[in-house]
Structure formats: structure tokens, C-alpha cells
């Protein structure tokens, strides 16, 4: 008789639930347990930053309730529970009340928003959104708000800026970056996106930063590095995410920008795996949807007895700014990338070649229609 598989997953985000789905597609019998801090409803995190324009209130974002997930996928859900420690020697995990044994453990703990240390009594009121509950809080605050400052002109900051401006809010975006989404987009494409967002009356304060946030009745006074002052009703912080690695404490698990894994998503312990925003796979920390999908498919096979390496085809990232649809596939080495820029009437296209081969691209406006054709020219990452 073969031993029954006992797989424990920590985290009910896109990574945890996608893995559950993929496992169930190939193994109906494995014993699956999912432990999570929230109540386990399934929702799409990428939709949080463009939900307003889609007229979605927080509850409408829940695509499947926790009890329906349990019914369809047949697993044990331990919700509203914080796992406090991993005992890798005895293959068990602890919460403050209980202990669970695992044969294989999957860390899908995600990431948490980075909070910049900003002076002033208003800085603690900054809202960061990386969970449905954060969105709920934000949604409630939004009533009566006319002006919003977004700290961080990155991907999430730009998506929220577009979404809020589409609701008639007065939006300012602030950050030290030389142009929007400068960690992924070449200058010309970032500038094009900025121009399209400015056409919605979004104001950019780039190469700048927020020095202090002072509470003033129901509003906030922001003092910028260059001395300018902004008065707004709400401050959103979108300066990036860091992997949630708390469970590494007291274990031998190696961490860097995420739990360090090999190409089977295995951590530095043979029974523990990591998937999604909390994982750094062969040196790559890619907190996006496509890597989760690719990883979940490979990991499901591995956990079900067929060791499978994760493969990363070219994975473009779509930036959900309806005012300027944008898609980017950054080249592996962004620092030395030389971009060839082509402007068209309603778009801009940037291509990056390495050794005569297409290595990356950034497309904005009408040019996004070329995505599929360009993707086919790019070799897989892993």
C-alpha cells in the first residue's frame, strides 16, 4: 500500500489556490490542507488595482467563496489561522493553538507592501493595498474623497492612478523615479504613458519624494523634497512589495528576495517548496501572475510523484492602464539594454536586441497588438 499523500499549503492567495486546482486536476485522492490567515475566499489580486472602473465593490471581487472552494476542490481549510513556526526536523508546523504534520509543505505566503519611513503624524494613515481587506478599507475611505496622492509611480501606482482618475478623483503621483515604471519601461515608453495619464489630469511629481505628511482635520498636507506642498484627502502608498519570509525564522530555509528555491520550486529543505510572490526561483523573484501559473503546474506534478522542473516561457506583464494600454517584457539585463524606439500615431514600440536576437519589448497604445507576434521571437527564460 502506498502512503497517502499529505500536502499542506500555507496561503490562500493566487499561488495557494492555483496550486490546489492544479493538484486536483491530476490527483483526486491526495490529502490537501490549506492554512490561511484570512477567511479563504478566492478573489483575483490583480483586479484590486482596476476594480473601481469595473464598478466592483469589495464583495463583487470575490469570485468563489471559501465554502464553495472547499466543496469543489475537496480539501481541509484552516482559515483565520496564523502559522507561527515550521519544525522542519519533525515535518510539522505550528500555530499558537495547534500543530499539523506534513509530508510536503508549500509556502505560498505572498508579499507585503513596503512602507517608507515618512515623517509626520499623517504617515501612519497611508493606505497600502495588497489584499482584499486592504481594498475594503480603502473603498470605505473613498466616499467623500476628492483628491488622492499616490506615493510610487510604479506599475501598481500607475494602475491605481488611472482607476481613481476614471472615477473623477484628482490624483497626484509622487516618487524619485525618473519616469513612470522606470524599473521595467524604457524612458520613451514611460514618458508616453505619463503623457496619456496626464491627459486624465493626473499630476506627476517625479524625481521627487514625500518628506512629511501632516494631518490637517480630515485632510493631509504633504511636503515634497523640493519644497512643494500638496493638500490631499487620502494618501496611497504603492512603493513595492517584499516577500513575506517570517516563517524562515528558526529554520534552515535560505532566503534572499524570497525563499530561495531550485527549478523544482524546492527550498533548502527537501520537503518544503515555495510558490508565488514569496519565492525566488533560481535567482529570479517575479511577483506576477504568469510565473505563478507556470510554477503551480510544474509543482502540482512534482508533488503528485512526477518530478517536474518549472519552465518560464517569455512572460509579458500587462499594465492595466486603460488610458494607455501597456505591456512589457523586460530583457534579462536591464542595465545594459539598448532600446530601439518607434513612435506611431497612437502608440510607441520599444524593442531590445541582444546579440542580434529580440530579448525584450515594451509596447504602449496601439502597439500592444504586436505582443503575440513579438513573444514568439523570444526564447524561454527557464
Amino acid at each position: 500500500m502506498t502512503e497517502e499523500k499529505n500536502i499542506v499549503i500555507i496561503g490562500s492567495g493566487m499561488a495557494g489556490y492555483t496550486l490546489l486546482r492544479e493538484i486536483r486536476k491530476i490527483d483526486k485522492a491526495a490529502k490537501l490542507t490549506l492554512i490561511c490567515a484570512d477567511n479563504g475566499d478566492f478573489y483575483s489580486k490583480p483586479m484590486l488595482s482596476n476594480a473601481l472602473d469595473k464598478q466592483k465593490d469589495p464583495d463583487a471581487l470575490i469570485t468563489t467563496r471559501a465554502d464553495q472552494m472547499v466543496e469543489t476542490l475537496d480539501f481541509e481549510l484552516i482559515n483565520k489561522t496564523f502559522v507561527t513556526a515550521i519544525d522542519s526536523t519533525n515535518q510539522c508546523i505550528h500555530s499558537d493553538r495547534k500543530t499539523w504534520h506534513y509530508q510536503s509543505l508549500v509556502l505560498a505566503t505572498g508579499a507585503r507592501p513596503i512602507r517608507l519611513p515618512i515623517m509626520g503624524d499623517g504617515s501612519q494613515d497611508m493606505i497600502s493595498i495588497n489584499h482584499l481587506d486592504h481594498y475594503r478599507h480603502f473603498f470605505q475611505k473613498l466616499a467623500g474623497v476628492e483628491s488622492i496622492a499616490i506615493i510610487g509611480p510604479g506599475l501598481i501606482g500607475c494602475e491605481f492612478a488611472n482607476d481613481l482618475a476614471s472615477q473623477g478623483k484628482k490624483v497626484s503621483v509622487i516618487g524619485p523615479d525618473p519616469w513612470p515604471i522606470s524599473n521595467q519601461l524604457p524612458q520613451e515608453v514611460g514618458a508616453y504613458l505619463q503623457q496619456k495619464l496626464e491627459a486624465l489630469d493626473i499630476r506627476f511629481y517625479i524625481r521627487n519624494s514625500v518628506q512629511s505628511i501632516i494631518k490637517d482635520h480630515k485632510a493631509y498636507n504633504l511636503i515634497l523634497q523640493d519644497g512643494q506642498r500638496l493638500d490631499v484627502d487620502l494618501v496611497l502608498s504603492a512603493v513595492g512589495l517584499q516577500a513575506n519570509l517570517d516563517l524562515a525564522v528558526g529554520t534552515e530555509l535560505m532566503t534572499h528576495r524570497g525563499f530561495v528555491t531550485d527549478d523544482m520550486l524546492r527550498c533548502s529543505n527537501e520537503h518544503i517548496y515555495a510558490l508565488g510572490d514569496c519565492a525566488e526561483v533560481k535567482g529570479r523573484h517575479m511577483p506576477y501572475i504568469l510565473p505563478i501559473m507556470q510554477g503551480a503546474r510544474a509543482l502540482a506534478k512534482t508533488l503528485c510523484g512526477e518530478p517536474t522542473k518549472v519552465t518560464y516561457p517569455p512572460m509579458p506583464v500587462a499594465i492595466k492602464t486603460p488610458a494607455c494600454p501597456t505591456v512589457v517584457l523586460p530583457p534579462h539585463d536591464r542595465n545594459t539594454a539598448a532600446w530601439q524606439i518607434t513612435h506611431s500615431e497612437n502608440g510607441v514600440k520599444a524593442l531590445c536586441y541582444e546579440n542580434g536576437h529580440l530579448a525584450g519589448f515594451a509596447l504602449a497604445g496601439d502597439s500592444v497588438s504586436e505582443k503575440q507576434t513579438l513573444v514568439r521571437e523570444i526564447p524561454p527564460l527557464l
Partner: protein, 54 residues
């Protein structure tokens, strides 16, 4: 003709429009799309789409 929405990213497949960029002709019914097809925006599988009322 129906529309199908990706439960992860909200991408909409409109049978009437097809996806000519991917070689799926306008008018292609959902059931005629290959089973290994994936969402062009986020890579979820065909199973993870739901029909949306228009």
C-alpha cells in the same frame, strides 16, 4: 455569440471577435478553442474562464 471572462485577470474572450493575433478567427466558439489554450494576459488555463452575460 458569447463572451468568456478570465477569473484571474478579467481578460474577455469575445467569440464574435475571436483573437486574430493568435490565429483564432472571428466567430470561433469557445468549445472550439483548443484545451491547451491559455489566457493571453495571465496564462490561466481554459478551465479558469467563466461565461459572462452581455
Amino acid at each position: 455569440m458569447n463572451k468568456w471572462e478570465c477569473i484571474v485577470c478579467g481578460f474577455i474572450y469575445d467569440e464574435a471577435e475571436g483573437l486574430p493575433d493568435e490565429g483564432i478567427a472571428p466567430g470561433t466558439k469557445w468549445e472550439d478553442i483548443p484545451d491547451d489554450w491559455m489566457c493571453p494576459d495571465c496564462g490561466v488555463s481554459k478551465d479558469d474562464f467563466e461565461m459572462v452575460q452581455v
